[in-house]
Symmetry: C2
Subunit: 186 residues, 2 copies
């Protein structure tokens, strides 16, 4: 699934500017997709050209005008069709796992830093997911049942990942330290 389709998806939840969509990617989508301005803005231009979204300019006082995009009926239809046709793939691209796989070629100090950095990242992800759950549990921005399922699934998976690293980190470092030659202690 490409960024264009994902932008249509965001717009099913309400009109938004490119900047708003980027924030949506950072908050709600961050645990399963990444996209930067460099892909979002061209995507919106292209979608407008194709008639799947419309663009209105909202001038703001003391500020550059925002371009607010809205889904057209054709856009909604295209998104729904695309959704139904999308196979449920789930791919991981992880330099972290690469580093673990070749850790015997890495100084112990670097391995320790790698584990700590990963632990920091994943802790941030857990907080973000919990924030989404809490914010949307009561009030106005209710989650659909499947969205609740989605966030909880991400949460249990991420926590399992974090807990394994946290509880086996020390043992791994000790094992590697005793096994590796002198030059790698640095």
């Amino acid at each position: 699934m490409d960024i264009k389709t994902l932008c249509l998806g965001v717009l099913t939840q309400g009109d938004a500017s490119g900047y708003d969509i980027k924030k949506h990617f950072e908050c709600v989508f961050s645990h399963f997709y990444v996209a930067g301005f460099g892909s979002i803005y061209p995507a919106l231009t292209e979608l407008t050209r194709e008639g799947l979204v419309t663009c209105r300019e909202e001038p703001q006082p003391n500020r550059a005008g925002r371009k607010v995009y809205a889904l057209t009926p054709a856009g909604r239809e295209a998104f729904e069709k695309s959704l139904i046709a999308t196979p449920p793939r789930h791919r991981i691209r992880s330099e972290f796992f690469v580093l673990l796989h070749f850790a015997h070629l890495l100084p112990v100090a670097r391995l320790r830093a790698v584990l700590d950095e990963r632990l920091g990242d994943i802790t941030r992800t857990v907080h973000e997911l919990q924030r989404v759950m809490n914010e949307c549990t009561g009030g106005e921005c209710a989650l659909h049942p499947a969205q609740r399922f989605e966030v909880e699934l991400a949460l249990v998976t991420t926590k399992a990942h974090r807990d394994y690293i946290a509880s086996h980190r020390a043992a791994l470092l000790q094992q590697v330290e005793t096994a590796q030659p002198e030059r790698f202690r640095a």
Copy 2:
């Protein structure tokens, strides 16, 4: 990290042909990286041109000759340097999560199929990881401590993912079924 660097990594574990490297990606690396022939063969050609690997042709009886690649000292050094400089990122790109997020726009039957397909995929992944663990626990192809850590981490994470889906699947489908309008029952 690009495919070229990963090919160097595979070659630190012994000489191999492009075909061998592809198999390695499918078996050992499949849970954190994907690569096809279309990226592996050009990568090997380029690495040869750069002097990071050498290529010898091994003619086989009644069969097309294999091109076996070997790491040069420069290649090993380049890989180790690249390894130390690589930040431990871990990204997920998941159409499965996208489908969950927009499940309210999907027919229930399709959602059911999506969950089942995902469950099938993840079960295959678990089997593959368990195979790696078992094959390499005793005998000659021993895993390094960090590789054991790597596979076990992938295993606990993947199992947590699978178990959540398996135990909440039915409840989700029921909830969605009662909530969705008539036209989506199909």
